[in-house]
Amino acid sequence: MENKDIVIPATDDPDTAGFWAAARERRLVVQRCGDCGKMRFPPRPACTCGSFAMGWHEVSGRGRVWSYGVAHAPTLPAFADLVPYVFAVIELADAPHLRMVGNLATSAKAAINSVPQDAVAIGDEVTVAFRPVTDEVTLPVWIPATQSEVVQ
C-alpha cells in the first residue's frame, strides 16, 4: 500500500474477525444474539442475556450522522497531510442504539477529507461503502446522501 504509516485494525481477534471478514466481502455486519435477538456493536463474546450464541447479522448499511469531529494538527504522520478531516459517529438505521465511527467521503475511493465540514450536519443520511486498504483490511466508509447525488 502507498502509505506505510496507515493505522489498521487487527483482524485475527476471535471476537471481531467476523466483522472484518464481512467487510472484505463488502457487507456491513453487527452481532445478533441467537437466543434473544439483541443486536450488539462493538462485538463481544457473549450477550447480556447470558447467551454465547453470537452470530453475525448483515445490516442495510444506511445510517445517520449522530455527531462528528474535525481533526486538526498535530496528528500521526499517516493523517498529517489530510487535516482538517471529518470523522463521524454513525447511528445505524437498522439499530439506532448502535453507533459506529467512520469517515465520510464522496466515494469509496475518495480521500477522508473529500467531504468538507460545512457539508456535514448532525442527522445527515449516509450509506456505507467499502475501501480495501490491505489484503486483510477493508474499512467501511460512509457516503453522504447529498454527496452521492453530486457524484452521480
Binding site: 489498521i8 481477534d13 449522530w66 465511527v101 477522508i112
Partner: protein
Amino acid sequence: MSTLTIKDRVAIVGMGETEFGKGLAGSEMELACRAIRTALDEAGIAAHEVDGLSCSNMEATHEEDLADTMGFGDITFFSRIPAGGGGGCGTVGQAAMAIATGQAKVVVVWRSRKRSGRASRVWGKTAQEVTDYEAWLRPFGMIRPVDDIAPMARRYMHDFGATREDLGRIALTFRANANQNPRAMMQAKTLTMEQYLGARWISEPLCLFDCCLETDGAVAFVLVSAERAKDCPTKPAYVHAFAQGITPGSSLMANYNLDDPYRLQTYAAATRLWRDSDIQPGDVKVAQIYDAFTPEVLWSLEGFGFCERGEAADFVRRGEIGPSGKLPLNTAGGSLSEAYIHGFNLISEAVRQVRGTSTAQVDDVDSAFVCSSEGVPTSAIVLR
C-alpha cells in the same frame, strides 16, 4: 450484616508536590520520590513505616523500586487503579479502604509524569495495528483523546444548547484561579474570551484552550487512620466518602454505545458516593472537577448531581463555578491551567481547601469534593 464504612476513619496527613513545568530535570522515579519525601516529612512519618501503596495503572514507577529507593518497610497492600485520569480518587479511596480494614497502616499514593515533550504523548505511540476498543476508532483518524471527546461535545451542544462561549467560560474561570496560584504553569498568562474564540482548533468543536496542559511533575499523599492522624502536625483531611464507577455500555473516552450516551461513568460513582456521604451535593461549597477537556466539566457537574441533565452550561453561564458562585471549581487552576498530573493536583487542592490554605480559599469550607475523569472508569471522593 452491620454496615461497614470508611467514613472519616482515614485521613490524608501529608501532601507533596514537585514543581510543575516543562523539561524538568530528573526521572519520573526521582520526581515521585521527591513528592513522596515531602509528603512524609510534612506528616512527620518515617519512610520505614510505609506498608501500603496505591497508584494509577499508567504509572511507570514500580512499587518495588520505589520501596527500595525510599526505604519503605514490608509492603502488605498495593493496588493499581485503571483508566488513567479516572483513577486518581480511586487511589485515595482504596488506600482508605486498606487502612480502615487493617490491611495497612501507612499508605502512600502518588502520580509522576514527564509529559511536557511531544514525543512522550501516548497517542504519538499509536501502534500500526490496533486492537481492542482502539480498532473501532484509530483507523478512521480518531487518534487523540481529544478526538474521542469532540463528537460527544458536539452532540451535547446540539442537544442542550451549550455553546463555545460556555466552554470558554470554564477555561477562563480556571485560568483566573491559576493566575493567583504561584505553583500554576499558567500563573503569569491571562486568558480572554477573544483569545479563547480565536485559538487554533485541535479537534472541532474543541480548540487549544479546551485541552489540558502537558506537564512534568509529581504529586503524593500519605494516609493514616484517624487515630494516628491526631499525632501528625498537619490538619487532617478525612476521607468522608469514596466511590468508583462504570456504567453499562460505557467505554474508554469514546462512549458512543451507551443507550443514553450522557449517562456516563460518573452516574454510577455518584449514586454510591452520595448514598454513603452525610454531605450531599447541595452542601458542597468547593469542588475540584476533572478537566482534561472543558466539556467533561459539564458532564461531571450533571453526573454528580450538582446540576440537572442539560443544565450545566447555564450553571456556568450564571457564574456559579467562579469564586463568588454557588460552587467554585478548580480553585488552583485545574488541569487546564495549573498542571496536568492526571487529576492528582485536584486532590491536593481539595486538601488545601480543607486545611484553609488555598490561594483561592473559599470561606467556611467544611468539605471538598473531587472527581476523576468523566468518560472512563472513574472515581470520586468527599474530603472533610
